[in-house]
Symmetry: C2
Subunit: 331 residues, 2 copies
């Protein structure tokens, strides 16, 4: 569990996209962000107050979050002075990049000396049990996709926000590094050892109040040969009551696999439902979330209407329309 | 890749069942076994020549395989003198037990000094890629089960033996520790990190001659919530041309999960087929393998006939009948 609030470190991000992790934190947990720290040459800007390490600490920052990636997705050597200073100043450091904070010797020494912690959120931080498949109290909604990277995290976060605004009990459950940095906790599922995947998801979504909903971040796709096993473990460990289908209508092939076409939403619905029924016979598909960013407003409207009439399910783009209709469909 | 031939170490196995790994090696790879080594109190016997470490080495043994488990499935301290002597005598040591050979300091020192190797086959020994799902040359057959431990490994090994006896090109591909010890190589799939499961299976079953068959050892079950993700990765990484359904007809609930009933063979056929078609549209279910060990000869015959007429697929118990009809169905 990461300590809040955060100082968002943008490093020397060459453009706004390189700071998308920081952007996600700021979009979904603005209350956790005291400011941003940008190095010389940084081209990203979150519109937060620029702060030095000292200013952020004085403003109460407990954790510096590495919210940017350079080419290669590794911790840059030009960042080390700032990260070390933050550790020395009493802040924990959190990163989702490929190389580890805990492999940077000067940083480890500084953190030890100051009694602060280094969190590599790509690395599982705890032991997970083998799943037992027992029915748990409370409700769970899982986003499943026709492909990877079609908006599953965004959909679950948008539903959580909508539900909280309505005064419902709702918790986004992160299963990837960006989600973990946004919410401060979760399971980096793609780094968990095979035997413990489903158990990790069970632990992430435990017994809860009968009217509480977990909004579980999806991973991969049942139709993506590289990662379908992870998706399967999410479905069986997550024990969903509700499935939301996620889709990107302009994609021409599975992400990273030009030789694989996308499944239809019908095929996704049928396969996700039959696999989820193994752990919860009462599961239903309650809605469809479409990422229409690549379409004009008019095209998006037509696309959503076509899918809604074809599938007979509430179909929205949560970025354009909010997640209200997906939440309505849960009750 | 383990070096053959083996000395099979039975330790102080309290009964024959405790030596089932050694029994498997002796049953399926008798040509790899020079003898057995039993300590005082050992109640198991493979009918191989009893040998000391020195005798086995003189007879050419290259690897001592720990083929027994005590209660708890760990390496027993009473075994250490023998294992250390074997390492000193120039033999590699291989084990599939929970605690690691490489964590036993005296053994590690002896092996280093003698230049011999310690293989913990539960631990992945190499790096695996992320799966790319590309079509590979050669044919693949995967055993999938209504549950865990219903005879998937036995079925694949029996098919390999039958095919080799017919002069066909066939290779059993091990995905669990017993299979790895039997054949000397493979992937301990349940210990592989989630993102690399399917890639590990692709690497295990690479391009091959057009008339070569891989017989891939199954793991878990699509219907077993604890391990279904592993099974899914096997199906998508294995890219099977043929699926053989495996079943144990007297089982009343999923292994380890008394609150889960078993799926029907029809449900297994349908779900395995639709998931396998994602990576190979031409895949077919070619036969059914039933473990009838708990039935009398008459009951077994009736059971197999009933399933065969219901499912319309060749249905055999490879232990009773051999795997001939499953192999016939491949061509």
């Amino acid at each position: 569990m990461l300590k809040t609030p955060y100082l968002l470190f943008l490093g020397d991000a060459p453009d706004q996209l390189a700071a998308k992790v920081a952007q996600g934190i700021k979009d979904w947990r603005p209350e956790h962000c005291v400011g941003q720290l940008r190095l010389e040459g940084c081209k990203a800007n979150l519109g937060l107050k620029d702060m030095t390490v000292e200013e952020a600490r004085a403003a109460g920052a407990e954790t510096l979050v590495v919210g940017a990636a350079n080419r290669g997705g590794v911790i840059s050597s030009s960042w080390m002075a700032t990260l070390t200073a933050a550790a020395e100043a009493g802040m924990d450091i959190a990163s989702g990049l490929h190389n580890r904070l805990t492999a940077q010797k000067p940083l480890v020494e500084a953190a030890e000396k100051a009694g602060t912690q280094l969190f590599d959120v790509r690395v599982p931080q705890e032991e997970y049990p083998i799943a037992d498949g027992k029915k748990r109290a409370g409700k769970r909604c899982l986003a499943v996709g026709t492909d990877c990277s079609v908006g599953k995290m965004y959909t679950a976060l948008a539903m959580e926000r909508e539900m909280r605004q309505r005064g419902m009990k709702a918790t986004f459950r992160a299963t990837g590094q960006t989600g973990i940095l946004i919410t401060g906790s979760g399971v980096p599922l793609d780094a968990v050892v095979a035997d413990f995947m489903a158990g990790a998801v069970e632990k992430l979504t435990p017994d809860n109040d009968a009217d509480h909903w977990d909004l579980i971040e999806g991973q991969g796709s049942l139709f993506h040969p590289s990662f379908s096993g992870v998706t399967m473990a999410l479905i069986h460990g997550g024990q969903p009551d509700s499935l939301v289908l996620c889709h990107e209508p302009t994609r021409t092939h599975m992400r990273g696999l030009p030789h694989y076409g996308l499944p239809s939403l019908e095929a996704l619905r049928d396969l996700a439902l039959v696999t989820a029924q193994i752990v919860n016979p009462d599961v239903t598909v309650t809605g469809i979330s479409v990422n229409t960013a690549a379409l004009s407003a008019e095209e998006a409207k037509a696309c959503l209407e076509e899918i809604e009439s074809r599938m007979g399910l509430p179909t929205i783009d949560p970025f354009r329309d909010g997640a209200g209709r997906l939440v309505d469909a849960l009750s």
